[in-house]
């Protein structure tokens, strides 16, 4: 081996060891620097995408829009009626709850966001959303959709008002879960190598004699310090009994192929 090649190889190995020994905090700083350098390109890209989207919208046939407008107007009238009925019922419900001294339901302080990018990395199940630091979002906050739990915030892109969500379908996203109508609690997570539309989740560490049946709902326990209690996770699909514990496969409540608008929970009433 040429001396220059040997020196280069030694430098390379030394650099690799240096990178391997970086702390979590140092890695985050490197990532912040990397995405800060990328931000002008990403911003320009997202502006171009918005312009292209606006152009596509404008070129839609006007008749199609007219039909849509008529349909929306009729829906609006119907929704106005429903809303007034809803307000009445809400008021009545509030009154009855007060009369029964009923425990107040948990209210979430949330920020709405749209998924702007799917699966930016090869192996991790993540999506990027268009809300970040400017909206008061931090890491390890729960992300919901109107169907149930979507995942948690894994990373904030500095100065971009964008963040990355680790989906419930990822093996690393663990949630303390309980099964409705049973004393069973376990840890729910995604499965490795399952990428198809709506992969099943694994509910582990159940008791050996877990009496569960298909269709039972699975909720968050609220233990573990990240997710609030009683958020719907999915329904039991099947149960596999083992010698030491049992495992259940859970069908997620959220359609991960199209989660639509998501909500980041900033805080929740106790």
């Amino acid at each position: 081996m040429k001396p220059l090649n040997l020196i280069a190889l030694l430098f390379f190995l030394g650099g690799s060891v240096w990178a391997f020994t970086r702390s979590d905090r140092a890695v985050r700083e490197v990532q912040d620097g990397y995405f800060a350098a990328m931000s002008p390109f990403l911003r320009s890209g997202s502006k171009l995408e918005s312009k292209a989207h606006a152009f596509r919208q404008e070129t839609r046939h006007s008749k199609e829009l007219e039909v849509e407008l008529t349909a929306v107007r009729s829906s609006l009238g119907r929704l106005a009626m429903i809303e007034s009925r809803f307000r009445e019922l809400e008021h009545e419900n509030e009154r009855l709850r007060h009369a029964l001294d009923y425990k107040k339901a948990t209210h979430f302080n949330v920020v709405a966001a749209q998924v702007i990018r799917r699966q930016p990395t090869t192996w991790w199940q993540t999506v990027d959303i268009d809300a970040g630091e400017e909206s008061g979002i931090g890491t390890q906050l729960a992300v919901l959709s109107n169907e149930g739990l979507v995942g948690k915030i894994d990373r904030i892109y500095k100065e971009q008002n964008r963040s990355s969500v680790l989906l419930l379908t990822d093996e690393k996203c663990q949630v303390s879960a309980k099964v409705e109508g049973s004393p069973e609690v376990g840890i729910l997570s995604g499965q490795r190598g399952r990428f198809d539309g709506n992969p099943l989740l694994r509910l582990r560490f159940l008791s050996t004699d877990a009496a569960l049946h298909q269709g039972q709902k699975v909720f968050t326990t609220g233990r573990g310090g990240i997710f609030q209690p009683n958020i719907l996770l999915g329904t039991i699909d099947s149960v596999e009994k083992g010698a030491l514990d049992s495992e259940a496969l859970v069908r997620p409540a959220v359609n991960f192929a199209d989660p639509g608008t998501v909500f980041v929970v900033l805080s929740a009433d106790p």
Partner: protein, 194 residues
């Protein structure tokens, strides 16, 4: 040569920007074009070993910055068996290994036989993805290899490999612009036949 090496580094950095805009093809087994790895592999065969190692370090370092996941979080008393992901820096070694693999057929490439290199770039990407998956399995335990994973790796390699002639063409244009040849023996053979 120095100018050419410097431009390949810039090209590698530019590929990171473009990679941010390349989506995953959900209809094609979640495959994607790994442009960063492709630019590195194609460049690795055209440069000397020290430059290849520098490219491997830059490529691996920024690739990990692009894709590393954050810490687990939550109460460790509840989440007793936390799932780890690959540590920062593992890609540097993988890039280096791929680079050495590509340099193994550098004599053929210098003769102008770039098709073999294009094919090897696809194989290298497959091996790279397989190595990543094996590393994840080694760290997390419980070996599972699904059909979906194999199809994802194969389609990603194939899709990426299809773009290698374009990168080789770009590199040869850059080399020409720098007054350098990436196929020196092919040029000599051509002159002899004339």
């Amino acid at each position: 040569m120095i100018r050419y090496s410097f431009i390949t580094i810039l090209l590698l950095l530019a590929s990171f920007v473009i990679q941010e805009f390349l989506p995953a093809f959900t209809q094609l087994h979640q495959s994607r074009i790994l442009l960063v790895q492709l630019v590195f592999l194609c460049s690795a065969i055209t440069v000397e070993q020290p430059t290849m190692l520098l490219l491997a370090f830059i490529g691996g370092f920024f690739w990990d910055a692009h894709s590393a996941l954050g810490p687990h979080g939550g109460n460790p008393e509840i989440y007793t068996q936390q799932v780890e992901s690959m540590g920062f820096g593992y890609s540097i070694i993988l890039f280096g290994a791929m680079g050495f693999l590509m340099q193994g057929i550098q004599p053929l490439f210098k003769q102008g036989k770039w098709r073999v290199s294009a094919l090897l770039s696809g194989i290298s990407i497959f091996l790279y993805l397989a190595a990543e998956y094996i590393t994840i399995t080694f760290i997390r335990g419980d070996f599972t290899l699904t059909r979906a994973t194999v199809l994802q790796m194969a389609s990603t390699s194939l899709l990426t490999m299809l773009f290698s002639p374009l990168i080789f063409w770009l590199l040869s244009r850059i080399a020409k612009g720098c007054g350098h040849s990436i196929h020196p023996q092919a040029g000599r053979n051509r002159r002899r036949t004339h």
